[in-house]
């Protein structure tokens, strides 16, 4: 029973969602829509689980003075201040919650995002080494695309932007679509394995 009930639930819900994609008729549509709503409700409700876990983990760290426990009060303070501000004043515009979000959370997010520029540079520096013919091909393509993206490329030779467009439109799109087709086949295969109970490792065993 420990395996049969989850497998039955997976099969029924999986089949409903597959049919929901192809059949607009009732009761499939109603069932499919309801299942999607249920997922939204479960996800929304589970945010409390996440918040509780966050509090539990950090309170425990402080209590037991575990490694790096000094960061935990910062996390908890940030969490509690935002939570209480939202609870008392609401989350609408021009309220303390919105002010903190726009002036603290959003800039910190942007800061993290801006790090990407430096990481791209360091990763490109390592990746674009002409160590073999494939790496050389990558290096040449990248060089053309980068030059084609900036005005100096066209100043050097007016065909460079055209070469960049060709590289992005044909070899790049073909490669991306190949990955997508392969991934789509993987999605179908994984879904079938799950729906038909062939893949059971997520239930804790193959018996």
């Amino acid at each position: 029973m420990r395996l049969v009930i989850p497998l039955a639930i997976t099969f029924v819900t999986g089949m409903i969602m597959v049919l929901h994609f192809f059949v607009p008729h009732q009761p499939i549509k109603l069932l499919g829509d309801n299942l999607q709503d249920w997922f939204m409700i479960v996800t929304a409700a589970s945010i409390f689980l996440g918040a509780l876990n966050l509090m539990h983990v950090h309170f425990r760290k402080i209590k037991l003075k575990l490694k790096n426990w000094k960061y935990s009060p910062v996390t908890l303070t940030g969490f509690m201040v935002m939570f209480i501000a939202g609870l008392i004043y609401g989350v609408t515009e021009a309220k303390p919650f919105d002010f903190m979000f726009m002036n603290m959370v959003a800039p910190m997010g942007s800061t993290m995002f801006s790090l990407l520029a430096f990481f791209v540079a360091s990763a490109a520096f390592r990746a674009f080494r002409a160590s073999n013919w494939r790496a050389t091909l990558l290096l040449t393509s990248a060089f053309i695309v980068m030059l084609g993206q900036v005005p100096i490329g066209a100043m050097i030779w007016d065909k460079i932007p055209l070469a960049k467009v060709w590289l992005m439109t044909f070899p790049n799109t073909a490669g991306q679509r190949a990955v997508m087709i392969g991934a789509a086949m993987g999605v179908v295969s994984t879904s079938l394995r799950m729906i038909f109970g062939i893949e059971r490792s997520y239930l804790g065993g193959t018996d």
């Binding site: 994609f21 192809f22 059949v23 607009p24 008729h25 009732q26 549509k29 997922f39 996800t43 589970s46 945010i47 409390f48 689980l49 996440g50 918040a51 876990n53 966050l54 983990v57 425990r60 490694k67 790096n68 960061y71 959370v105 910190m108 997010g109 942007s110 993290m112 995002f113 790090l115 990407l116 990481f119 791209v120 360091s122 990763a123 490109a124 390592r126 990746a127 490669g175 991306q176 990955v179 997508m180 087709i181 392969g182 991934a183 086949m185 993987g186 999605v187 179908v188 295969s189 994984t190 079938l192 394995r193 062939i198 893949e199 490792s201 997520y202 239930l203 804790g204 065993g205 193959t206």
Partner: protein
């Protein structure tokens, strides 16, 4: 001479006065005619049809508005049924040119017309249009995909049966998956933890599901080797599922005592907040092995480069085409697209699962043939029309509407 001049001046003044009187106050009959000519604009070319691809109970209406005339205050959609009942369905703002009546009964013939309101009264109405609502059993634009799905399912089930019979199935080596044991072993030797990042999407994403399945196997391996396993998550549901999966892995390895629930923790739903949190864990804990498996967006390189900077062996895998180059550049091993979904079967070596992998490959071969035939048909179709219809058929077959 003086008399003549005075006469002319008087004549001019009289003419000017008459002309001014003409301009200032036109005859009453002319005003009436002008107002009668400006009629209220009405809806024209009204078309009513059953809403396609739905569960019924819906009729779609489209119309245009006359360009000349007085603009109405609002529009009203009216309908009558075969029993003579007339009803006003809705009032719409001027400028609306379509409406979907969701209150129709299937099989009932309705007459629809659009009226123009001005000052609260109906000043004009459109011609009538007739429609009957009905339910459809299948999305017509998805029939081709349904056929392809059945074919792929049949092939996968066929290969699963072959696998069950015990026939040896060749699966090419996937370096990233072969390295899983090495990565966990390295972490054990170095006495450092293993970090598993299941992407930033929720459990409704198939990549997260594939990632969680791999997490189960990694958890069993870390339990056997005795390495701590850290799983920071971006979604609460993923955290709950990951806790269960890891616990199960430890149970299967007979090391339930080593399971630490606090190691699978929720950080935040925020994309870059999560990236910052995971980067912090990497820098503080210095894991020896990092698994980045699942759905990633712009944070992929931030995570992978930080992982690289702490000297961890990194195995990444995603089906996001735009993030794969970042992982290839920054990680030791990368599972590209389908390899992420093949991981569970590859690691378990179960015949049934390997059979499904073989079926997946057969499906890819099918699409490869379809693409080649399509390219040839489309190329030749420019000169030979029968091939053009072949190309069109193939395009319709794989297009999902």
């Amino acid at each position: 001479m003086k008399n003549l001049s005075a006469f002319l001046i008087i004549l001019l003044l009289i003419s000017a006065g008459a002309a001014l009187a003409d301009n200032a106050d036109p005859p009453e009959s002319v005003v009436t005619e002008a107002v009668e000519e400006l009629e209220v604009r009405r809806a024209i070319d009204l078309e009513a049809s059953d809403t396609p691809e739905d569960e019924g109970g819906s009729v779609s209406l489209t119309w245009l508005m006359e360009t000349e005339g007085v603009t109405p205050d609002s529009l009203g959609v009216m309908r009558s049924d075969p029993f003579g009942g007339e009803e006003h369905i809705t009032t719409l703002p001027v400028g609306t040119v379509m409406y979907r009546d969701q209150s129709a009964n299937n099989g009932t013939e309705y007459n629809y017309w659009v009226v123009s309101y001005l000052g609260g009264t109906i000043e004009a109405c459109s011609d009538r249009a007739v429609a009957i609502s009905s339910a459809q059993w299948i999305y017509r634009g998805r029939i081709g995909m349904l056929i392809i799905l059945f074919l792929i399912m049949a092939v996968i089930i066929y290969y699963i049966e072959i696998g069950k019979r015990g026939k040896e199935l060749f699966i090419r080596e996937i370096a990233g998956l072969t390295a899983v044991d090495d990565a966990v072993g390295r972490a054990t030797e170095m006495g450092k933890p293993v970090l598993f990042i299941p992407g930033i999407m929720d459990m409704d994403n198939i990549q997260t599901i594939a990632s969680i399945v791999i997490l189960g196997r990694v958890a069993r391996k870390t339990a056997e080797y005795g390495s701590p396993l850290l799983v920071p998550t971006c979604r609460s549901v993923v955290m709950s599922v990951a806790q269960e999966i890891v616990k199960e892995g430890y149970l299967q390895a007979g090391r339930s005592d080593a399971y630490n629930k606090e190691n699978i923790q929720y950080l935040t739903d925020d994309q870059f907040g999560y990236a910052a949190g995971v980067d912090g864990i990497m820098v503080r804990e210095k894991p020896a092995a990092i698994f980045l498996l699942g759905c990633f967006y712009a944070e992929s390189l931030i995570l992978a480069e930080t992982g690289r900077s702490v000297g961890a062996i990194q195995i990444a895998g995603t089906a996001m085409p735009s993030q794969i180059p970042f992982f290839v550049a920054a990680c030791d091993y990368t599972l590209i697209g389908e390899e992420l979904f093949a991981a569970s079967a590859y690691l378990s070596r179960e015949p049934k699962l390997l059979g499904s992998l073989k079926g997946q490959d057969a499906g890819k071969l099918f699409f490869l043939i379809l693409i080649i035939v399509g390219v040839i048909a489309a190329s030749i179709g420019d000169f030979w029309s029968p091939m053009k219809s072949v190309a069109e058929f193939l395009r319709n077959l794989v297009t999902v509407n």
